[in-house]
Symmetry: C2
DNA sequence: ATAGCAGATAAGAATGGTTCTTGTCAAGAA
DNA sequence: TTCTTGACAAGAACCATTCTTATCTGCTAT
């Protein structure tokens, strides 16, 4: 990811913190995820700044907005064209780094000038497949103590929004 | 589309009106679109009823929810697996009725059990291509009088929400 | 330097699509 | 009839996102 002060994009400490969190991140975080994580090392960070920065990065093509999840938008710092695998159980999103040569015949093209495509593969991730049947577990947040029932460990606490703090309860 | 009273789904007049509006509709309407149009012939219709009905139809697999547009959810009464063409200018969504044989190699599958896929083709629709350059026009709603500037005729009035009421202003 | 400008920030209000709540009502069962 | 169930309308609540406002900071030209 470019980190230069150029074309009216000022690299402020806040933006740098967001860029650093995003850099190499493969979790497709939502704005709130970014906010909560960057806030740890930058307590005065505002959610509006996260949105502003994401908007600027989007315009500069340094981040891609994913509209896979109807609840919230997710952001992908990986801007090379790629596709996504979506777990229908735990809603996890993972990248697919393979080019598929899909040529849509002119008859189906309906006059459109096609410039790109994106494939969403739906399925069940290995973790959820393993927990296969109806097996349920309770997960507790180490940070705020909230609990949640589910088949897979939630990436993010549904209460306090922290990521990576949920662990399986005996 | 099935129109039978079965498995706890009561075919009330409201639901019938929604089903009739949806049946054969190729415009991928949002909940608000359905609400405004059904309201014409059913003035007491509530937006909550539209959402309830869409939820019920979704659970019964009679309608598919599209999360292509980050602004609002769109509903497609065409439940056969198909793909979509999206105009990046006017945000129009049209169906692509062709099966693409995409087999994702096990190395890329990352342990997922794949059950389906959906391809979004991005491009520019024929209407927007025609208006190619920077040409802009003003469109006025015949219903509420609101005006909007743009390259293509908006399907829906941004103010009153009626569809098909926008026409080009001299 | 100093003033002035442009863009960034924090805080919180506003927006708007979706969901929830409440009270009412109609249809079918007992 | 009375009970139960589900649907309805109206509006409140919710929550992700956007907007507004008032600072604040770092440039630039005077």
């Amino acid at each position: 990811m470019e980190r230069q002060r150029e074309r009216g994009f000022k690299l402020t400490p806040q933006r740098l913190a967001i860029l650093e969190y995003l850099d190499g991140n493969r979790d497709h975080p939502a704005a709130e995820d970014i906010y909560h994580n960057v806030k740890k090392s930058f307590p005065t960070m505002s959610l509006a700044t996260v949105y502003n920065t994401l908007e600027a990065l989007k315009r500069r093509g340094e981040v891609v907005e994913l509209t896979i999840d109807p609840e919230r938008r997710h952001y992908d710092p990986n801007t090379e064209p790629h596709h996504h695998l979506i777990c229908l159980r735990c809603k996890k999103i993972v990248d697919v780094h393979k080019e598929f040569r899909i040529n849509i015949p002119p008859a189906q093209r309906q006059g459109f000038r096609i410039t790109g495509n994106h494939i969403e593969f739906y399925g069940v991730c290995p973790e959820c497949t393993r927990k296969g049947g109806v097996e349920m577990a309770v997960f507790k947040c180490e940070s705020c103590g909230a609990t949640k029932e589910g088949r897979c460990k939630p990436k993010k606490c549904p209460k306090c929004g922290e990521t990576g703090t949920m662990s399986k309860q005996g």
